[in-house]
């Protein structure tokens, strides 16, 4: 489990000649009782890992689609604790890596130490905290390490070279390359600047590099993946689940992971 499970899952995909695809879903959107089913479905569709969002009342890094999904989840009574309980209950049956994406405050109020140990109990393999930059991560990094949970760092296009090197050095499991200057949500194009940025990260990072934010089509996914190891798709997946378009999800994942040579 933990870092090792992420690494094994990634290697298996890469050995099969595939790029990595991590779908994001909001825990509790549509009810927590369908969470396991959705995770299984995404696994079957070819996800290399699942990024599971914990709803928060004030998600400053998220665009409208994920904001709405978060509100729906909160209205269902979803909390960090209830999500960890569901994950724990189904952990024996699950083999796909689970990466929690949560803002810091729900963790802080839950109790940071309890969060780290309960994540391990629940079979959580990695954690992403979008509002915790390098300067503040001492609040949790050792506790995650102690529990073998990969602490995945986010790099931004505004990051200086110095910060990118530090982020790449510290990141565990993979490095999350935020590939737009903005919040999550669909975007039309990805420009030259993004390609250069991804190439640079790929060169500097010992762990795989995945591009996320603003990726919504298989064309974008394949293009971005050609400069790094794969993509994370959030808003589009959330939207398709919300509309019940499960076949489209399968198509998007399966077409995105196809390797495309593009230098």
């Amino acid at each position: 489990m933990g870092k090792d499970l992420i690494q094994q899952s990634f290697l298996k995909k890469q050995e099969a000649g595939e790029k990595l695809f991590i779908p994001y879903i909001m825990a509790g959107d549509g009810g927590l009782d369908i969470l396991e089913e959705r995770i299984d479905y995404l696994h079957q569709c070819g996800a290399a890992a699942i990024e599971l969002g914990i709803p928060f009342s004030d998600p400053v890094a998220d665009g409208p689609t994920i904001q709405d999904a978060g509100l729906r989840a909160l209205n269902n009574g979803t909390s960090l604790g209830s999500v960890l309980n569901v994950l724990k209950e189904s952990s024996e049956r699950r083999s796909v890596p689970i990466i929690l994406m949560t803002y810091l405050n729900p963790i802080f109020v839950y109790g940071i130490e309890k969060f780290a140990s309960d994540c391990k109990q629940a079979g959580v393999d990695g954690v992403i905290i979008p509002d915790l930059p390098l300067e503040e991560e001492a609040i949790i990094d050792k506790l995650l390490y102690k529990n073998s949970i990969a602490f995945i760092r986010l790099a931004a296009m505004t990051s200086t070279k110095e910060r990118v090197l530090e982020l790449a050095k510290r990141s565990e499991g993979f490095l999350y390359a935020v590939s737009v200057t903005g919040t999550t949500g669909a975007r039309a194009t990805h420009e030259q600047e993004v390609k250069d940025y991804l190439r640079m990260l790929k060169q500097e990072s010992a762990v795989p590099v995945l591009a996320g934010f603003g990726v919504s089509t298989e064309v974008q996914a394949r293009e971005l993946s050609s400069y790094c190891d794969g993509v994370i798709v959030g808003s589009k997946i959330v939207d398709l689940f919300h509309k019940g378009q499960l076949e489209e999800i399968k198509g998007l994942i399966q077409n995105s992971v196809k390797y495309e040579v593009n230098s």
Binding site: A61, N105, V109, P133, A156, S159
Partner: protein, 398 residues
């Protein structure tokens, strides 16, 4: 008393404060911090700032002995620091002038801001008109409905007001949306935060620009009486007028300071904005501070008759001053604030902002318990013209 040197190099006030923001914003915060520290060491910058404060804002503002109020209450004399007499009618412009000059210094041409009641939005739109900066102001849908005139004011001044319908449609959601906008436009846009909240260095920058309130008060009070006041009172939402008033007095042990939060319909109800007196510690809008939140760390809506105090967080330095007990934080209900609003209007001919009426109400409580040899300064942070319609409805029981 040890020398007060908050914040530390990492932007912390004891355990509070910090920079809890996405990596995307970190380079901008680091740049802002560096540039700000350079600017305040630059005599030219200070000279320009002081010129605008004197000739445009209308500083210094008077420190006025409210004799009628004092006579009625029969206790310690009450002095009012008249921030309501600033251009645009509140203390908010002390900060926006400073930050707009910083924006220019950074070579940025655009400004984004959030606003609750509209006071900070108007103060931002004003300085943007003055200094030829493009201005976008985010305002909650609910607040737009409550403060239509201020929306029109901002538009008159050339700002674009964007309505925020997500969440509760109030100040906290406007901050979220302003932060998102800033994340997306950080290359050419500066975020003029309106209170001592948000990630470092904002709480420090806003405090420093607002400290003109306390510095003038100290000087004026000395000139009038040869002493320091015994008590200083200010209202606290995010806490910018309070921090500006308190900061120059922190090391003066003889001065008791009172921060007055909005008690709304009462602390026993869920309808209040008393973050320090009844909230708990958490992380919101980039800073660790006291918040109104549920058991799962979801932020709750704040409630107050005064839109300017209607914020579920508070500046991290206030949290620190609360923990160290240097400042006493207490609350005043909507009803008490409404009474003080009318009382000050009738006794002194000064209509206070509903925010400031909370501080007046608190002075009305403690003044009779103090002796005539002692003295109180109240920060009258803004004028109440913006509130008369709302007060009328409230008094008519609507």
């Amino acid at each position: 008393m040890a020398i007060y040197t908050m914040p530390d190099a990492t932007g912390k006030y004891g355990e509070f404060g910090g920079k809890f923001v996405p990596e995307l914003l970190m380079p901008a915060l680091i740049e802002l911090e560096k540039l700000y520290e350079e600017a305040i060491q630059d005599p030219e910058f200070i000279e320009e700032l002081n010129k605008y404060l004197a000739e445009y804002v209308g500083r210094e503002t008077p420190l006025y002995l409210a004799e009628n109020l004092t006579k009625k209450l029969k206790g310690a004399p009450i002095y009012l620091k008249r921030e309501d007499l600033n251009h645009t009618g509140a203390h908010k412009i002390n900060n926006t002038v400073g930050q707009a000059l910083l924006t220019k210094r950074m070579g940025k041409k655009k400004v984004v801001a959030e606003t609750g009641a509209g006071q900070h939005g108007v103060a931002t739109a004003t300085v943007c008109a003055l200094l030829d900066l493009e201005c976008v102001v985010f305002m909650g849908e609910e607040d737009i409905r409550r403060q239509r005139l201020n929306v029109f004011r901002m538009e008159l001044l050339g700002a674009e007001v964007r309505s925020v319908s997500h969440g509760s449609g109030t100040l906290k959601d406007a901050v979220n949306e302003a932060l998102r906008y800033w994340v997306s436009n950080v290359d050419d846009t500066h975020y003029i935060l309106g209170s001592v909240v948000g990630p470092h260095p904002f709480p420090k920058i806003v405090r420093d620009f607002q400290s003109v309130i306390g510095n003038e008060t100290k000087e004026q009070f000395k000139q009038k009486t040869g002493k320091l006041p015994n008590a200083v009172i200010a209202c606290v939402g995010g806490g910018s007028n309070a921090m500006g008033m308190f900061y120059p007095f922190i090391q003066e042990e003889s001065v008791t300071m009172y921060g007055v939060e909005a008690g709304g319909q009462g602390l026993e109800t869920s309808k209040h904005a008393a973050t320090l007196t009844s909230g708990s510690v958490g992380i919101l809008h980039g800073t660790m501070t006291h918040l109104l939140q549920d058991a799962h760390g979801q932020i709750e809506e704040a409630f107050s008759i005064s839109a300017g105090l209607d914020y579920p967080g508070v500046g991290p330095e206030h949290s620190h001053l609360h923990e160290t007990k240097r400042v006493i934080y207490d609350s005043i209900t909507d009803k008490e604030a409404l009474d003080a609003f009318q009382f000050l209007s009738k006794t002194e001919g000064i209509i206070p902002a509903l925010e400031s009426a909370h501080a007046i109400a608190y002075a009305m409580k403690i003044a009779p318990k103090m002796s005539a040899d002692e003295s109180i300064v109240v920060c009258l942070s803004g004028r109440g013209d913006k509130d008369v319609e709302q007060v009328k409805s409230a008094l008519e029981g609507k």
